[in-house]
Symmetry: C2
Subunit: 296 residues, 2 copies
């Protein structure tokens, strides 16, 4: 080790609490929260995880100091984050629209329940913003994934060796238009377009299920195993802020896009996340797809 | 028979060509063209059908004077319609985006091919408008389904005995917003919304396939067999004109909406078609759904 200012203690030594802010990660489901926690730790941060009951099913939280709580326990969430010395908080991952009637509530949760129910009715994003808002009211600083884990953010340009061709740009543009129009109504954040035709548009089913139905369309409308056609675009909803729900692409997304006979994936550079860039690039190269970041 | 001014000849007698304009029906796939042809005949019109090869698979056209032609034979389409004495034309039904390279073309088709290919790339609607446009250039009058078969048009208010409740109106409004936003981009004409959440949005898969995936969503998001929740809205795309592709609801749509655990179906009054109002009303009553026309 050649960093003389760091305290002794080998590879696991971390700067003390004063030097690096502890990240309070409120974790929902999916692969994103783990990727964020690991990337933030790799940047030298301490990470404390509030694992949302009913959303986190993975056991990765065992690798971090953590506490399981429901979205109906904002008082306990705030207390746990303060107890861990966190000042920055970040909510990452999918949060199922909760059934408040079946949920464990704390005193603050009961107090805020009418607002929470109203927020949940406006869509999943509204609920996420509501939970983050409670933390901000308590003096926490809500930060974005981009700030906590900059290594995950999509850059401009092709990620692997394959770049989109001229024939793909009109479809990329049209898919961005569709996602932005849908996003303004809090519908979804993905669309697939092939030669001007919207093959599929994401709502509550999610991107994977959306891609899975494309091979069921008439062959004249879509690509085939022999000839890949069309593009997948994932983009931030205009109603979302980057703190809560940036679109995410991982190795499985690349595999699903290939299985849907698409030619590639386009993301908004700076406003989308790639869970493991090296692995995604390798899989895209192997399957013959492009994965590219477009500056908006 | 008590109409002394009609010529003798029993029930099959029709006014002569001069008194009633012959309808030239360019027929695509699905149930709509047959319903239009039968409703127009019931109104006392002669009907001549141009059955589009590759789109019409039903044998109902045998009941009418008809000719099978491809969308690549506009010259022959025009000639057939003129030969039948039609002055009003109407294109009804789904037209698959054609593979021009595999299609039978006439001289006019070859001449117009570049424009047709460009129109097809802009979406199915653009192709339909293109075909109708050729007929208009030849002096035909393009009429709407509403004019040819007014009995099919959705009226304002509940069709059966069940009306939407207050809890449904916010979802109906949101679903109309989504369909209008999507329609402006030529994506689809249907959406299902449940308590503010977009359950599913139609693209190339069509309304039936869209409804079929709703039961696969998490139960907390949608209705159940015990409690129906959410609404289906079908509405005209702002890019469509009512002459080519009004949204259509039939008995099967009601059954599919019920199987998706939706509480009902809302249509734009005056701008949607119901294939058999009595049968749709009976099925909606039987399954406990509303089917309603909303004035926009």
């Amino acid at each position: 080790m050649s960093a003389p200012e760091r305290p002794p203690g080998g590879a696991s030594a971390k700067p003390s609490g004063g030097a690096t802010k502890t990240l309070g990660l409120i974790a929902g489901g999916g692969e994103l929260p783990r990727a964020v926690a690991q990337a933030a730790r790799a940047e030298g941060r301490e990470v404390f995880v509030v694992a949302l009951v009913g959303s986190v099913t993975e056991d990765w939280v065992q690798d971090f100091p953590h506490k399981f709580l429901t979205p109906g326990e904002p008082g306990r969430i705030v207390k746990a984050l303060k107890g861990a010395g966190a000042r920055d908080v970040l909510l990452a991952g999918k949060v199922d629209r909760p059934k408040f009637s079946e949920m464990k509530l704390d005193a603050k949760g009961i107090l805020l329940l009418p607002k929470a129910v109203a927020a949940a009715k406006k869509g999943d994003d509204a609920l996420l913003r509501f939970i983050v808002g409670i933390c901000e009211d308590e003096g926490f600083r809500a930060i974005s994934v981009a700030e906590a884990a900059p290594a995950l953010v999509a850059d401009e340009g092709a990620l692997g060796r394959i770049a989109p061709q001229e024939e793909h740009f009109a479809d990329i543009l049209q898919a961005f238009k569709i996602v932005h129009a849908l996003g303004a109504l809090d519908v979804g954040q993905a669309a697939a377009v092939c030669e001007g035709l919207a093959l599929a548009v994401e709502a509550a089913e999610g991107t994977d299920a959306m891609l899975a139905r494309i091979p069921g369309l008439r062959e004249s409308l879509r690509g085939t195993a022999a000839k890949k056609r069309g593009v997948l675009v994932k983009a931030l909803k205009p109603t979302q802020d980057a703190k809560t729900d940036m679109p995410v692409v991982g190795v499985q997304t690349v595999r699903n896009a290939a299985a849907a006979f698409l030619a590639g994936i386009a993301l908004e550079a700076g406003a989308a996340l790639i869970l493991d860039k090296a692995a995604v690039a390798a899989e895209a190269d192997r399957l013959g797809l492009f994965v590219t970041g477009i500056k908006q």
